[in-house]
Amino acid sequence: MHSPFHPDYNPLIRKIESAHTLTGDERQALETLPMQVQVIKADQDIVREGDRPSRSCLLLSGFTCTYKITAGGKRQIVSFNIPGDIPDLQSLHLKVLDNSVATISQCRVGFVTHEDLRNLCARHPRITSAFWRETLIDAAIFREWVTNVGRREGVSRMAHVLCELLVRLRAVDLVEDHACDLPITQSEFADALGFTTVHVNRVLQQMRTDGLIVTQGSRLNIPDWEKLKQVGEFDPTYLHLENDQAAA
């Protein structure tokens, strides 16, 4: 396994291998998947609602978000995307995008044409299954977010999302102990959680005072994982990770 800092580290393979054992052929097909790699700075749209893309984007490093905007201009972030995610994979089958995807931090993004993805899937049915499974888990994450934003309050709502991010980042080797880089701003958390930035700030200060989180710049450390899970009512079942260690 390559470390996240190795240039050949492919978070997509790491993610798929967390649930499937790949054959040599399948692994090679993923490693040699033609990809146009671009570095995109923070706060840029990668795709926009209404686009008709002919390619999908694999996030190689950095964070992006999937979002929608109301007629009044309010943004709702509906998920955070981390390395290994293909946040617009659905455009392979759905012609018109019904959401936008934007970078949160500077990102390395690998663009893969739909034609190459179709060829990959036609030759390797188990990879097709893995992609299908990933989109089902995406739907599970959306269900969880509706519940979280609609029914949990303040600290609990924030704690739940932080737990989710930590578990997903751990699955692609981006967590050390219970610490990770999390370049999400308070304003972005506000758009994701349906809070005002003032409220996000109060919640984060409360969580720091209660010893639930320690932050330094974009570094997040969770000193008491069990306590954070309890406060966030977090049960990782919906992430369907095969490796039990990932949830620990």
Binding site: K74, Q186, T196, T197, V198, V200, N201, R202, Q205
Partner: protein
């Protein structure tokens, strides 16, 4: 529209004071809170903590002074 302000203590968990905002018929239309100086987003600013009726469900802005907050609320309520 003439609005009346009544100071009130608020249990936000921080060192913050509040203000009830009443309309001409003595109905509560909003609660403003002067944010703690420790708030990292808008220290010391007046925040529309809660709004009722026509002030419900809108973006909740912060204001640098109580007068600005009162003017803004008055304008919102006067709109037909």
């Amino acid at each position: 529209m003439t609005l009346t302000l009544h100071p009130i203590r608020v249990a936000t968990g921080f060192d913050e004071e509040g203000m009830l905002v009443l309309d001409e018929e003595e109905r509560l239309v909003a609660v403003l809170v002067r944010l703690s100086d420790e708030n990292e987003v808008a220290p010391g600013q007046w925040y529309l903590e809660a709004g009722f009726g026509r002030l419900e469900g809108i973006d909740r802005p912060t204001f640098s002074s109580l007068d600005m907050a009162r003017d803004w609320i008055g304008q919102r309520l006067s709109r037909t």
